[in-house]
């Protein structure tokens, strides 16, 4: 067979490694977009009503004479959330790294369905294009929040972004779900069917376990959102009333709809929305649990228990969506059940956290970049998790719902835990991707500008939430009860700009090191797993044989008899 040409090799590639890197590069581009939206939002929140003439020239309509319009602010809020959750973290962690590492770690030659794999990437590219192009349509980008609650998202005159932008949002989400479903099927099949000889399920690294369980969870949860967006599309364009009750009054006109309820959307959306958090967080935990042994030279603590915790969290996560709806008008009795179920999740989560901590005990910790980011991820997981105890509890959620406490909490969890684990994974597997190391000095600067800054921003937001600061506000100038805390927005914005700038450093480091990085040794971290042992056909042991008494080296690869 002839060597594949450039197009076959780098564009429409069937190679899981190339596809994984394609996902990563796409997610970095989307992260730059999502970051730019953040910068615009934070400028307005810190200095409301200030004129930015340059931006006025850039966005003549949305920022007329340099002042941001409230509807443009809401479009930025919506797009930042949608892009970061579905097109950055999902693409980087749950698709990109998964694609790259799953076949390598289980000793498979490639994914079970390489064509499907290529297709899933090339389905998500149009999703990104459709979503971003919504800024150019009449009315601008969607403005109903990433949660898109109807009737705001369903009635086309409810907010300018609902005119056409929301339709593009629906199309982008549908394409994304199709792509994610194809990816999930591929991951599960590959993990179950393509493992090397001797790689029994309980010899798989926890990373693989986390991808197996989170992919299954995603396959169960995402269809609900797919159904939900199709119904929303029908309500918007074909005159149905799934989410629209009778008596809706817009623009001096009574709408003809009858019989629907806005709560239906909330149930469907959060039936996906909550498991989605775990679809993203679980791989992060798997990676952290796998990196600790490499950089402590000790076996992971509680291997099987961690697997059972993954299972428990996956099952429980399908039963807790109502904790987003305590004050939505849902039955208060349901609120009691959802409180108990939600706080039940803290139990396996706490076990995971304790096992991560205990994995450090007695180790010889090597503070290389992957380890530092993994530790950062653990810190976010702990602090974010304790914030969850407030929100999962219906009684305290009455006060905190839809405030900055929620914003701080989910940024620590699906922002911090997953982002830092992604950085850990990228630094760790970079030598396997490109045969070179990422620059250590740049990496350290990036770490110190990311981990503490990220933590402080979102911890401060928790406290502003306790003070009652509502989220998705264009400004809080009108409210006297927030007089003491709205000044924090300036600090938060300055820290956020620093955080955003630091990420450019990472992107530079990533691309610069592809050609200029220090050449890597074949097994630069002295790790046991298969991606560092070329041409493995037989596995003899689990992946955590570090510092085995009597062994020649302090690590014994999985393919050593």
């Amino acid at each position: 067979m002839a060597e594949p040409g450039f197009v076959r090799r780098y564009l429409f590639s069937l190679d899981h490694k190339v596809i994984g890197i394609q996902y990563l590069v796409l997610s970095m581009f989307m992260a730059l977009c999502g970051g730019a939206f953040m910068v615009l939002m934070r400028m307005n929140l810190a200095w409301p009503g200030v004129k930015w003439p340059l931006l006025g020239a850039l966005f003549p309509h949305a920022m007329q004479s340099g002042i941001m319009k409230p509807e443009f602010y809401l479009s930025l809020v919506t797009m930042h959330g949608t892009v970061m959750i579905f097109f950055v973290i999902s693409l980087a962690l749950a698709s990109g790294i998964a694609n790259f590492i799953i076949p390598l770690q289980i000793g498979a030659r490639d994914m079970a369905f390489p064509v499907l794999n290529m297709l899933s990437f090339w389905t998500v590219v149009p999703a990104c294009i459709v979503l971003l192009s919504s800024f150019a349509v009449d009315g601008g980008a969607p403005a109903a929040g990433w949660t898109a609650y109807p009737p705001l998202s369903a009635v086309r005159t409810a907010v300018p972004g609902s005119l056409w932008g929301q339709t593009l949002w629906i199309v982008a989400m549908a394409l994304f779900i199709i792509s994610f479903t194809m990816g999930g099927i591929n991951f599960i099949t590959t993990i179950l069917e393509e493992r090397a000889q001797g790689m029994s399920l309980f010899r798989m690294p926890l990373t693989i376990w986390s991808y197996l369980i989170s992919s299954a969870l995603g396959l169960m949860a995402f269809p609900a959102l797919f159904a939900a967006v199709v119904l929303l599309l029908c309500d918007r364009h074909f005159g149905t009333s799934f989410y629209l009750p009778s008596g809706l009054f817009f623009g001096k006109k009574l709408l003809p709809n009858t019989g629907g309820t806005p709560l239906l959307w909330q149930h469907l959306f959060w039936f996906l929305g909550h498991p989605e958090v775990y679809v993203l967080a679980m791989p992060a935990w798997g990676i952290v649990l796998d990196l600790f042994p490499v950089f402590t030279r000790r076996p992971v603590f509680g291997y099987r228990i961690n697997v059972y915790c993954f299972y428990a969290i996956a099952v429980l996560s399908l039963m807790v969506w109502g904790h987003h709806m305590y004050v939505s008008g849902m039955s208060p009795y349901a609120g009691e059940l959802f409180s108990l179920a939600t706080l039940a999740i803290t139990i396996p989560s706490a076990v995971l956290g304790v096992n991560m901590l205990a994995s450090l005990w007695g180790g010889a910790i090597r503070f290389r970049l992957p380890m530092m980011f993994a530790i950062g991820s653990l810190v976010m997981f702990g602090s974010g998790g304790f914030g969850g105890m407030f929100l999962g509890n219906a009684t305290s959620d009455i006060q905190l719902h839809d405030t900055y406490f929620v914003v701080g909490h989910f940024h620590l969890m699906i922002g911090g835990v997953t982002l830092l684990a992604t950085f850990a994974a990228l630094h760790y597997w970079y030598p396997r991707m490109f045969g070179r190391m990422m620059d250590e000095t740049l990496g350290r600067i990036h770490f110190w500008l990311t981990f503490p800054v990220f933590y402080l921003i979102f911890v401060l937001m928790h406290f502003d939430g306790l003070a009652g600061m509502p989220r998705r506000y264009y400004s809080w100038e009108k409210y006297d009860f927030l007089a003491g805390v709205r000044g924090h927005q300036v600090w938060i914005s300055l820290l956020a700009f620093l955080l955003g700038a630091a990420q450019l450093l990472f992107v530079y480091n990533f691309f610069h090191s592809i050609r200029k990085g220090r050449p890597a040794e074949p097994n630069p971290w002295d790790a046991t797993t298969l991606e560092w042992q070329p041409e493995t056909s037989q596995v003899y042991r689990w992946p955590y044989d570090y510092s085995v008494p009597g062994a020649a080296t302090d690590f014994t690869p999985q393919n050593t008899k």
């Binding site: 319009k69 409230p70 509807e71 809401l74 609650y149 109807p150 009737p151 705001l152 009635v155 409810a158 300018p160 629209l244 009778s246 809706l248 009054f249 009574l254 629907g260 806005p262 030279r297 000790r298 076996p299 509680g302 228990i305 004050v327 939505s328 008008g329 208060p332 609120g335 009691e336 409180s339 706080l343 139990i347 989560s349 304790v354 901590l357 205990a358 450090l360 005990w361 180790g363 010889a364 090597r366 530790i375 810190v379 702990g382 105890m389 509890n393 219906a394 009684t395 305290s396 009455i398 006060q399 839809d402 503490p452 933590y455 402080l456 911890v459 003070a467 009108k478 409210y479 510092s547």
Partner: protein, 270 residues
């Protein structure tokens, strides 16, 4: 000290400093808005219980993590003593039991009784009923008037002058008091809110009262609370409802019974 260990100590210090920052922030000011409702004391008890337990957990966990990074950073080789299956199970069991007690125990013992009182009980007979109809971007307020009965409403009667759609044919509705963005209530007398929405989902948020309830089109949601002191309190919309969301502000004026009666009679005459 090796280079790697220096890095470890820096990370350990950062972990400790971040925990210290959390504690300092927590004590730097009173974060919760001043309390003005009866059941709010129960909500605050739940919040304080969780703040205390989560705060202790944050300090302990950051402390332990920093300690391990400090102690084990840069060691030449790992400890050889393997961890037994039994001790792994024990630690996990300890974490599970502890979390069950703190989290589930907190909900069951401190939280749900307050929740049940707030949502599960019907308002006392002397409660003042206020109907609040949310729309983009205002709160329409209606009192039953001297006859104590609300007039029938129907969306087909919505006009600029009749924002809540009172049926003109219904005699009981003629004395209803309709106002915009300002609610009046009496200190010590329970308030029953009948919450409705005309267009999109809004949320009725009284930060000082620990009250938050979404207003959902197509639903009439009732709940009650008791103001405990007089004053002017802000009402904010807490659910994204459109470009004017941030300006959808109302005022709740809590008065003495005499002041309220005077206001009520003025309105009824008008």
């Amino acid at each position: 000290m090796t280079n790697a260990n220096k890095g470890g100590r820096a990370v350990a210090l950062a972990v400790w400093l971040l925990a210290a920052a959390v504690v300092m922030l927590a004590f730097s000011r009173r974060w919760l808005p001043a309390l003005a409702s009866d059941h709010g004391a129960g909500v605050d008890r739940m919040l304080h219980f969780t703040m205390l337990t989560a705060g202790i957990l944050i300090v302990v966990c950051h402390g332990a993590l920093g300690y391990m990074l400090w102690r084990f950073g840069g060691r030449e080789r790992a400890g050889f003593r393997p961890v037994s299956e039994r001790s792994q199970r024990r630690w996990s069991l300890a974490a599970a039991v502890f979390m069950a007690l703190v989290a589930e125990g907190g909900v069951l013992a401190v939280g749900l009784p307050v929740w049940a009182q707030y949502f599960g009980s019907s308002a006392p007979a002397n409660a003042l009923t206020i109907e609040v109809t949310a729309e983009q971007f205002a709160w329409n307020v209606r009192y039953a008037g001297p006859d104590g009965v609300f007039g029938r409403t129907d969306p087909k009667f919505y006009t600029l002058d009749n924002p809540v759609g009172v049926d003109p044919a219904d005699p009981r509705g003629r004395d209803d008091i309709v106002a915009l963005n300002v609610l009046h209530a009496v200190a010590g007398r329970p308030v029953r809110i009948r919450l409705r929405a005309k267009d999109v989902v809004h949320s009725f948020f009284l930060p000082n009262f620990r009250v938050k309830q979404d207003a959902v089109p197509g639903m009439t949601i009732e709940f009650w609370f008791t103001p405990t002191r007089e004053g002017r309190f802000e009402l904010a919309c807490a659910q994204l409802c459109g470009f004017g969301h941030y300006e959808m502000k109302g005022i709740l004026i809590v008065q003495s019974p005499e002041e309220f009666r005077k206001w009520f009679e003025e309105q009824s005459r008008g």
